[in-house]
């Protein structure tokens, strides 16, 4: 499965080679971004045992191409896009889940705890939305990203993100039987 984002990515200003442009080491980037990326994987996949693996897969992809990805304006957005796509991919989720189940059978305990029933119900409702709506909602609420930031992560136009958020919120309010309010 391709782990690369589908569109080109903004590169940092300057004419230096990518490896020099990146002022941050992969290690620092990983330490800073990993928790948020695991959270995104957890919200979008709903798999306690597989979310960490999904996040690690995304970071592994980033690590392999760090000379290039480290030179992007926002490598964090790149890795979020990868994990958002991996997490909503049914095939990838099943592969990760199967591996995680195999490890559970060998005595491995997932580090992520269970969510409360109310939170689990909310994220299950998010996951039941169409793929792009679910990704937009998760990025917007989980990471508190603006419409422009969500658009950059997902590689779509801001207008499209607004539409996904609007429709996603409407569908969520209906499914959870709560009042919708405008952000």
């Amino acid at each position: 499965m391709a782990l690369q984002p589908e569109v080109s990515w903004p590169v940092a200003e300057g004419s230096e080679p990518a490896a020099v442009r990146s002022s941050e080491t992969f290690e620092d980037f990983y330490v800073r971004e990993f928790p948020a990326v695991v959270g995104l994987a957890y919200a979008l996949s709903g798999r306690r045992s597989g979310a960490e693996d999904l996040a690690q897969e995304a970071f592994l992809a980033a690590h392999r191409g760090w000379d290039r990805i480290g030179g992007y304006v926002d490598p964090g957005a790149w890795v979020r896009r990868v994990v958002a796509n991996l997490s909503v991919s049914v095939f990838r989720r099943r592969v990760v889940e199967t591996k995680a189940l195999a490890r559970l059978a060998l005595g491995y305990t997932p580090a992520l705890p269970e969510l409360s029933a109310e939170d689990a119900e909310f994220w299950a409702a998010v996951r039941s939305l169409p793929r792009r709506q679910a990704q937009a909602i998760a990025l917007h609420y989980l990471e508190d990203l603006s419409v422009a930031e969500v658009a950059r992560v997902l590689g779509t136009a801001e207008g499209t993100v607004k539409k996904h958020l609007h429709e996603g919120r409407k569908a969520l309010a209906r499914r959870l039987e709560i009042e919708e309010d405008e952000a």
Binding site: Y42, Q56, H63, D119, F122, I178
Partner: protein
């Protein structure tokens, strides 16, 4: 409760879960990316195991395919059979050089080179010294039929590859091997020369298209009989 409130609360739930995970897996060592390293090592190990498994499977498949093909080829040489039980053991036993059939302007001539002709794999060298292609057809003859075949050839016997018994011979003769040789070139006819049988080589030229029965031949010479005691 509004959707926004509910969503932000659910987001807090995820953040708390990640914090718990971080605390439970926190490492004080200098390698802050220890978990990543472990994941990468596991992935590389699994990839290596996968490559070994795939490589082994390819090797096993190749060995099986090659052995099967070799077996098929081996079986294929034994019954180079035209339905009468004759076989071609060339690939199993080194054939004995029996002699040379030479086609020249005077017809065809057979020179026996073997001191004694024994049953088993035998080889005839065929040489074309004429200026047109010549087909050398090795026949096993029916009993006492060489004279009849000689007469037919003298009369310009026309036959075909599928049913060489045509021309009044019915199934009396069996065409075992055929070899068309270019002008100035040579080749070989190899087959199993069986005890008690007579063999002969008919030298022929192409004749028409052969119609339904394959390429036609017009015999112009006959050499033999090669008798296997």
């Amino acid at each position: 409760m509004t959707l926004d409130t509910r969503a932000r609360r659910a987001a807090q739930g995820i953040h708390r879960a990640v914090e718990v995970m971080e605390m439970s897996t926190f490492t004080k060592g200098p390698r802050k990316v220890e978990r990543f390293d472990r994941f990468r090592d596991r992935k590389q190990r699994n990839r290596r195991i996968g490559a070994i498994v795939v490589g082994t499977a390819i090797v096993i498949t190749t060995v099986v395919v090659v052995s099967t093909n070799a077996l098929d080829r081996g079986q294929g040489t034994v019954p180079a059979d035209r339905g009468d039980g004759s076989s071609h053991p060339a690939s199993l036993v080194e054939p004995v050089q029996i002699g040379t059939v030479t086609s020249s302007g005077d017809g065809c001539a057979l020179e026996i080179e073997a001191e004694t002709i024994r049953a088993g794999a035998g080889r005839l060298t065929v040489v074309n010294e004429t200026d047109q292609p010549v087909t050398f057809d090795l026949f096993r003859l029916g009993s006492q039929s060489f004279a009849r075949l000689e007469e037919a050839v003298a009369n310009g016997w026309v036959y075909n590859v599928i049913e060489p018994g045509g021309g009044g011979f019915a199934t009396e003769h069996r065409l075992l091997r055929e070899q068309e040789v270019r002008p100035g070139a040579s080749s070989t006819l190899t087959d199993n020369f069986t005890t008690g049988d007579d063999f002969a080589v008919v030298c022929a030229h192409r004749h028409g298209t052969g119609g339904l029965f394959g390429p036609g031949r017009r015999a112009f010479a006959l050499v033999g009989p090669i008798v296997v005691p």
